[in-house]
Symmetry: C2
Subunit: 522 residues, 2 copies
């Protein structure tokens, strides 16, 4: 497969030579070939118009045909083979084992949505049959989810496969029946093009309409904004920084027609280690925590960037142990030089906040990031809440509270996060029941005696959380429930049976679960 | 029961005498006693802080206790008896039969949500059990909906009971576990207070925490904005004008923490009458349509403000018949003098658009609104899309298209509406299948051979639609699915069974439907 450096618009490539950028070898800083052209406003407009045209046919495809499309995308990604992995390793400095694992996760995500389509119940069909003799008579009412329309999706830098071109948002949007216009992340343009080519091959092979998927690339903010502001785009999926996500959200709300924005903007994922377990298993928790902080050079949105203990000899030991483990941990290249710089500056900023001590000594040399541990008191965090803001990378802040009350007060002051974790013995958890209740209000996922990194792709996963973790806490970006992002309900009143969508026909030809007159039935 | 004219804050009344306003007898224009005080900023802050405090206990109440609370609200509203109906008649000029019917609907809405709580499956429980032997191991994951937090709800003028103090948004928010701070509509302050008192009595009788409900009143925009902008408010429900709803939406999006806004802002609910049925049953459809246009003096958000036919002798007859029926229809007092004035001005504005003819002659005398019919061509509507904008009241615009293509083009140009309706014979519907497909993209509810007024409160209802009909097409303000507005999912990872909420415990003590490892089961 050949990299063109061009936009993939519908089934064609397109180039406007005015502006270009290059991929960078993340480990060496060297420029990669070829150069990539930035999508022009006209090209983006063309991609979105094609998506809108494709929507008419695509929303009418059967679930089985869309499932085959998704499965075929997975097969085509696998066919891109070692070339894809090797290029992705160069662009991201992520190791081979991680990327082959991430590729399998990406393929499995596509398969999960294909299964969901074949099973069919995701449309949430509800039927209230007519009551002609009631006064007033009740008409026949049937409700199901329908796709929103063309969706704009932004790739994340830290998951170049699973949260990028054929990642979760693309898979769930395509599953729901929405064409996708994808804005590739400039940190892995070659990976993006190879995966984009795989999607286009799959679309052609399975007879999908041209425009069901387009890939536009660019390093400028203007490329993304042209998607967000286009009147034919009906929703946005984004994973990245608070700054980027909030700018996209604000632009989308300012549109003549505001649209849903699902921006996952990361968080610090606080971990509370309660006194009993600190005494009983402190060393084991320190090991698990240090592993979670440094996994993937800390480049996960579920990275535990804050942990809280009650001050005392056990917590002193625990913090020292965690600091030692972090100091000894392997350092690594980050995804881009920009991210590395932001990590170093972020740590510098946190360390400069009064009342903050550095436990580890350095956070990187000229090339590689080192893990960092800072320490502060709960009192100081309450005065300087910016200590709870995310620094993307392998760092964490150890916070010590002087009392249970102070610990609970700190929890109550937290803003929205993707996850929160509590480590405790049975007795701890009983004594701190109110902590669990408080944290449930702050997050999308709450863990006991685990580590927040590692996000299972399944039915019960919730990857989201209250603002500022995301712009829409009602939604998940991981797991099968994500399909709900790109759909809305429509009620069909008094329709002849043969004009109804299959999901709502009286004989239930799709054999799906439906709420019929208030009872779930198949 | 005595009207105090004061705010109902928690379990107490409160008065800040700086500003007051009065209810108006909608039929006579006379001032009603007593005067009502406007809530001050301090009172609103107090109500919201009480709601936030109440949230801690209220979210932990069992579904059965919340169901009893809702049922008791209904009983207390019925106990308010004829006094409530008579006062409401004065404040709104709505007739007694309509208001006793609306009261029953309001009570039934509360009962519907009580049933939903007792049945319990609304929390959408999903369980993926642990796979400890898989590589990597899968943790135990359990996901359900939890309440968002204190909700601000705005009453609508046109449903002083069913979309006001104890209306759908209040019922669904309280059902979900969210305290409510209600902004009473200034067009029926006495009705609001009587219903507010009923809710407070029910809260006390069923042992709900103080602050679970408060009612603040006011005629100034500042009162509502103080709710929308308060950091402890986590969602907004609103039914009313585009101008009001959009201002609230914009303010909520500008907050440090943007929050969901469910604003239902009305629409013109286009009706398409196809050629076959126009010939076969034109007179009957004209009668049904005129009845729908004038129902409740046209003061419904589902009022059919636009209908479309193919130009020809049948459509000439149809429009003339509809015009005659509208001319002969009973005229009536509107809800407020402001609404009446806006109706008269709205008609004047539409009639002044070039290419528009008046079919009916007058739209009201000094006191009462008359039904209005205007006529224009599809070509003219495409040039002047403002002809498709809502004029609240008993009016409609007859649009004639010169061809099927023009009719489809007009449909494709429509913005979002709550409903769309198609009248057709079997042959019509077959020939115009693409019309149904286009309209499905534009609305929340699509009807065949019916009339859009009359919104059933049931499981399969969808009362919503794409912007500008609402600010969130993913949601409904009527029917049991409305409970989803005020909830978000949380995933519990690796929780001991006894620390899980009942809905997620392994033994399924609530006997609810749950998605366990991908299979729905009870």
């Amino acid at each position: 497969m050949t990299l063109t450096g061009q936009q993939l618009i519908g089934f064609a490539t397109s180039v406007d030579p005015q502006k270009s950028f290059t991929g960078i070898n993340a480990a060496t800083g060297q420029t990669l070939e070829p150069a990539f052209y930035e999508a022009s406003a006209a090209e983006i407009d063309q991609a979105i118009k094609l998506a809108d045209q494709a929507f008419g046919r695509y929303r009418q495809t059967t679930p089985e045909r869309r499932a085959t499309f998704l499965d075929t995308i997975g097969e085509e990604i696998l066919k891109a083979g070692d070339e894809l992995i090797q290029l992705c390793m160069q662009e991201t400095a992520l190791p081979e084992a991680r990327l082959t694992g991430e590729r399998m996760r990406t393929v499995n995500q596509l398969k999960l949505f294909a299964q969901l389509l074949r099973e069919g119940s995701w449309v949430e069909a509800r039927i209230d049959t007519a009551l002609p003799d009631r006064q007033p008579p009740r008409p026949d009412l049937r409700r199901m989810l329908v796709p929103l329309g063309p969706v704009g999706v932004f790739g994340a830098s830290n998951f170049p496969l699973a949260f990028s071109v054929a990642g979760g948002d693309t898979a769930s949007a395509l599953a729901a029946g929405c064409p996708v216009v994808f804005k590739g992340h400039p940190a892995h343009p070659g990976t993006s093009e190879l995966v984009g080519q795989a999607i286009i091959r799959a679309a052609k092979a399975t007879g999908m309409p041209e425009g069901v998927f387009s890939l536009v690339q660019g390093a400028s903010i203007a490329v993304g904004m042209a998607i967000v502001e286009h009147p034919l785009i009906k929703a946005i999926g984004f994973t990245g920084s608070y700054r980027g996500g909030k700018a996209i959200f604000d632009a989308a709300m300012r549109r003549d027609e505001p649209i849903p924005v699902y921006a996952e903007m990361g968080s610090t994922n606080p971990v509370f280690i309660l006194p009993g377990i600190l005494k009983e298993k402190g060393a084991a928790v320190a090991e698990g925590l240090a592993g979670s902080v440094t996994l993937g050079v800390g480049q996960f949105c579920t990275n535990p960037g804050l942990f809280v203990t009650l001050h005392g000899p056990d917590s002193d030991t625990f913090i020292a142990q965690t600091g030692e483990l972090l100091t000894k941990s392997a350092c690594g290249s980050m995804l881009t030089s920009g991210i590395f710089k932001a990590y170093q500056e972020g740590i510098k900023k946190l360390a400069a906040i009064p009342g903050t001590q550095r436990i580890t000594q350095s956070n990187g040399d000229g090339q590689k990031a080192y893990a960092t541990l800072l320490q502060t008191s709960a009192k100081n965090l309450l005065v300087h809440p910016e200590l709870a803001e995310e620094v993307f990378g392998p760092s964490s802040v150890a916070v010590t509270a002087d009392s249970k009350e102070e610990l609970l007060q700190l929890a109550a002051q937290l803003r929205g996060h993707l996850t929160a974790t509590v480590h405790g013995t049975e007795a701890d958890l009983k004594e701190y029941a109110s902590l669990l209740d408080i944290l449930t209000q702050k997050v999308g996922r709450i863990l006991i005696n685990g580590y927040p990194t590692g996000v299972e792709v399944s039915h019960a996963m919730q990857h989201g959380g209250p603002f500022p973790a995301t712009t829409d806490s009602r939604s998940t970006s991981v797991g099968s429930a994500a399909i709900g992002r790109f759909a809305r309900p429509v009620c069909y009143q008094n329709f002849p049976n043969d004009l109804l969508p299959d999901a709502l026909k009286t004989e239930n030809p799709l054999k799906i679960w439906r709420l019929v007159n208030g009872e779930w039935t198949k």
